[in-house]
Symmetry: C3
Subunit: 159 residues, 3 copies
């Protein structure tokens, strides 16, 4: 049965703002002593990509997807007010001037606090992501593992 | 009280990728023996439309919505990387070459596994969908029925 | 531990249709006697803005955001089928002709039923919203308050 010490969030979206919301909740819960697992799937996987280009063997669509999709958390676009990439830059400026954490610092904080980052292997196959393209320390699992964790958690969100 | 044997997902989105995520979770949970109910509302209703044109009496806006919105799960667009419909086609190709299930096969599997598909009657009225336009076997209910089921479930997502 | 008498919804989206879905669920749950808290964050904050222009001191980006983003629940755009603002107008017409509640009436009903409306202070700072710009009666809190409420609820959604 679920108790109140565990949270899961499916990070489906790869939008700067939605990933930020997920990381703020995750960091908040971890700071309160909760176990937190973030399952990155579909476009959310972009947040886990390494910034550098990694050479891998892929099919045509997957190569194209790999080139067109943002490589890592510093490259994510906003779901609205993106202004061709100016939105996230302006957000980062406001965040820094306010002494708050930028998106990549929120991810680092989550890792430091022991938030578990899981990449969905099924959608990795679909979109053509290889493990060597994703951040070190990321774990790999499928929907069964997600459901097992969600069954132990009392708050399960889809972002 | 909630136990761990029931899940609900509100399928608000009619995007190929989000509906796929919902169906993967639903099928996974059903395979593990859970009762799963998917509540299709707003654009998610498009996933339940029959592929053929059904003649119904509608107001102007609802006729227009009916014509412009995708007719059934094979016509859904992706939330990103849609490329005027090429995205889903390419996705389907990758899925088939990998031996995985396409979106419409995931829906068929969900039905076969006894996942309950519910269409939200309130948004059907709003968007002008008639029962004869939606797949056979779909159930019809409103928000009270959703809440009653969510109260019995331990994982409730909004997609 | 969670019982079945409390619900929370994070209203991240400022889309007409998503806010409507959140308010329908909130009103439904409140009508069944549940405690309901809506946490408005990021673009969802637009739904809580007063309709009139309020003079406040803001930085450049935040002024721009303030001007470009919809001022209040009557100005929200649809996530799809928006047609440059015609979508919500047509929706409202259908709603009224069907005797149902428009989006702003749903918000009023939620307030009347005692649904708690909370504005996320962290994203208010980020987007530059001041308390005097938001509706009277709105409460202010951060992620810790959200998590405390979510721990007491049995249904927690992210919209």
């Amino acid at each position: 049965m679920a108790d109140t010490t565990k949270k899961t969030i499916i990070v489906f979206s790869g939008d700067y703002d939605k990933v930020m919301a997920a990381l703020i909740i995750a960091n908040g819960a971890a700071a309160m002593g909760d176990d937190v697992t973030l399952f990155f799937t579909f476009w959310g996987l972009n947040a886990l990509r390494k910034a550098e280009k990694i050479k891998t063997e892929k099919g045509l669509m997957q190569s194209m997807f790999g080139r067109m999709m943002p490589r890592g958390i510093k490259k994510l676009n906003m779901s609205t007010m993106n202004f061709a990439g100016m939105g996230p830059m302006m957000m980062n400026k406001v965040i820094k001037s306010g002494g708050a954490m930028t998106l990549d610092q929120l991810l680092d904080a989550a890792i430091e606090q022991g938030v578990k980052l899981v990449a969905c292997t099924m959608t990795m196959d679909l979109l053509g992501f290889k493990k060597e393209e994703l951040l070190d320390g990321v774990e790999y699992a499928g929907v069964a593992a997600y459901l097992a964790e969600a069954d132990e958690a009392n708050v399960n969100l889809f972002v």
